[in-house]
Amino acid sequence: MKTTERSAGLLIAGITSVEGPIIRVEDTGIVAYDEFVEIIDSKNQTRVGRVLEVGENFAVIEVFSGTSGLTTAGTSVRFSGRSLQVPVSREMLGRIFNGMGKPIDHGPLPLAHNFADINGQPINPTARIYPRDYIQTGISTIDAMNTLVMGQKVPIFSGSGIPHDLLANQIVRQARIGSQAGTNEERDENFAIVFAGMGIKHDVAESFRNAFTESGALNRVAMFLNLADDPVVERLVTPKIALTLAEYLAFKCDLHVLVVMTDITNYCEALRQISNKRGEVPSRKGYPGYMYSDLANLYERTGRIKGSEGSITQIPILTMPNDDITHPIPDITGYITEGQIVLSRTLTAQDIYPPVSVLPSLSRLMKDGIGEGKTRADHPALASQLYAAYAHVQDVRSLASVIGEEELSSIDQKYFEFGRAFEKQFVNQSFSENRSIEETLTIAWRILSILPKTELTRIKESDIEKYYGTA
């Protein structure tokens, strides 16, 4: 070992190799794993990076803003002696930042007295509060059948050409703390929105910004934008910075924070690119074996903790490559998150909005957020019955396509009719339609009443008496 001193703060001239976004530096002295690094190129421009691997007197660094223009001799690096920390403050709401957290709205640097490590730390399960308060989104398919609760992480699984951005917009605009059906409590809501865009197109970023502006929410939103033509490695940092701010807002400022992250697929592509450049053993489809842990480190930064009034609810958006739900990105995500909202191309083609495909969709935390005292006593069984009935509709439809609709048994014809009403009246609603939980449940009963009472085997008889055919 040549040097035994920590090289923190020292400028080390010259790097050994550059390969994609990865550089290797030798004769470094002592460098810490995961240390934050500044890279100064020959034109005296500074970029930042992170130590991925250290040995005796060498370090491997990923450079967030790309390596083009770096020369081996003309580049120097400065190790910071600490991991990447970002400023966090309430003032950051209402502002727009780039993927590295620098303001791009021509405003001043936000004042911050607090700095936080972007990697965060795992929440102790004993310190969590189990999420039980539902969020009313005003969207029937979500509120009735995939109810969100505060502190949950639910991704939207979509595909290109499907209006997931519109749906995310609508959720953000309409989300409020849910109350019991029929009551009309207006609560003081401390909602804040943290938006992380990873590799998104300029017009997508613009449409979100416009939507926030139009709804008057912009002063409650912090946007972090890594655009499609921004450096790829930066995408790996953007959501971490956004979540670091979200944690501060939720657990220190007691706000209910809704985090929208789009597009996770781009994030995973960046992960694959780095892994590939480092020559790591790939697992499925070339994605690194640690993608599960890596994504978990994002998604698990959600929830509620004791001693704080706030919460973090995550709505990551991902476009399934080739609409394939078994692709590693949606697959791994589904294993980590607490459910998923799946959008359907078939419904989109029929111009049904929001095109939520209910059968593969799921909210794992719904069971504790609905029912008596929360939404309405009949809600859980009603939701289960809707699922069962709509699942049967699929069988009936495939049968009808063989033998013809007229040949269906009378019961199946009812199911056929139910299926149509379900999609046209229940799923379908306009972008600006904000249905109360009571309206949603009423529509559900109206369409279920198409079926004979004897088919509603999952609902209590007393509830059938109470609600059947009344809407």
Binding site: T4, R6, V31, A32, Y33, L52, E53, V54, G55, E56, N57, S83, N119, Q121, I123, N124, P125, T126, A127, R128, Y130, F251, E280, V281, S283, R284, G289, Y290, Y292, S293, Y299, E300, R301, G303, S308, I325, P328, D331, I332, G334, Y335, I336, E338, G339, Q340, P360, L362, D368, P380, Y387, A391, H392, S398, L399, V402, I403, E407, L408, T457, E461
Partner: protein
Amino acid sequence: MTDAAAVITWINGPVIRARGSSKIAMGDMVGVSDQNLIGEVIGLHDDEMTIQVFEETSGLTPGMPVYSTGLPLSVELAPGLIGSIFDGIQRPLPVIERKTGSFIGRGFGLTPLDRRTRWSFTPLLIKGNKVSEGIAIGSVPETGVITHKIMIPHGISGTLTWVAPANDYTIDEVIARVETEHGEEPITMLRRCPVRKARSFKNRKEKNEPLLTGQRVLDTFFPLVKGGSAIIPGGFGTGKTITQHQVAKWSDADVVVYIGCGERGNEMTEVLQEFPKLIDPRSKRPLMERTILIANTSNMQVAARDASVYTGITIAEYYRDMGYHVALMADSTSRWAEAMREISGRLEEMPAQEGYPAYLSSRLAEFYERAGLVETFNGDTGSVSIIGAVSPPGGDFSEPVTQQTRQYTRVFWGLDKNLASARHFPSVNWLNSYSEYLDNVTEWWQAETQMPWRELRAKAMQILTEEGHLDQIVKLVGPDALPDDQRVTLETARLLREAFLQQNALDEIDTYATPQKQMKMLELILHFQARAEAVVSRGAIINTIQELPILNSLIRMKNTIPNEQLERLDEIRNALDEQFDQLELLYR
């Protein structure tokens, strides 16, 4: 801690290398840096060792010291385990919360078990008794349902020279002394036991008692035995975790060890908050009084996932050795396999299938073989049953972890995506699941329920299989084209699915069914089939049967008739007979 044994030379995520000692053995637990992060030696090459670190390695630098503990990776065993929640390396999470707040910090030498609590010890043996490994010398009431036996540790045998009188002691106070060949050994209640090696016992016994879960599809159709092992594979959203929770709640094991391996934080919190409130139907005590939780959530350090599985199984074996039936749930073993893959990748080992290391299979084998029904050294009978969830990528059961696990387990509870999306839970697919323990438990069921379990089960399975075939035809031509006797089969199959197999975990009555209730329900449905077939053969058309009001009672019997009022099932049977009698009158 002694002087530094080695210094760090290389760091790559959870894997580090260090150089400088030939005294540290393979598998030894080490303290990394002055923060004493816990690590385990997983490779040796000359004087350079490879270490996996169970805590976050951010901020470590080459040149930092590595300390030897001289022990292999171990767990602490003593009263106080039950009702606790630990992380993967047995650090008590509530204590961590008190120390570092809501987020998990690192690097503090926490003892897993509290040293100050005093436990009420009662001696079982006296001075002069001969003792050896596993012999109980005293007992401690640990919770309302568990009496903790204090056993002679591994490697000690001789004559008791002193046993403490009945009183309250802490776990590291001496409570006995044994005169051995090598001198007198003090005995405390606390044991340290290596986790990677199975604990020993006298011999294995034949398994023929079912591990009841109260879940009809599992108990009646695909039974697990005490000491057996089962696998629950299923894609995301098919209900693996709910099934695991149901078994943890209602199984008739004495002790439950629940390992949340690389899963969601909120799920562990749910268990933590729910179990103390739930009452065990047998002991009438809170479920937490028999439960040990090990939580390694998906965002905790990956190497600790590997450790969590071994920590759990070693604790399970310890209670087995006291003569308890222990059920161990691991959710999900795929995350453990992935942790192996990640570490293996960082070591640049040659990958086998899908990037998993070639030793995946042997690790799984070693783990599942630690299940078993045994006679302990103390002469008791105890068991460890393993129920491992597997999360196959894309729900595809042909992937390596599912296939390899299948090799070493004898019960397969395959979860089905289509059933799950119709919200048919538990979504166990009855056509591809199996149990190899049918012969083992046949006698038990007969004796317990006084009903021909095996025959009823076979009949029901036959109907469901036939439905599978008929469904293909129905899909092509519609049900109306089938003859009425086949439609009776379809109708019975529907009853089996909706009234029997489907079980609502959230319904107070339906969540748990006794073997008696299961058998009576099944018999009733098959009785329906017999009567329906008879009346159809006389010329009745299927619609008249479908319109019988009894069908509604049959479908609702699971959540209207509690386990304590099974005589009400006889009333349904009478009503059923009455309605069919009347129908038969029309077709005489």
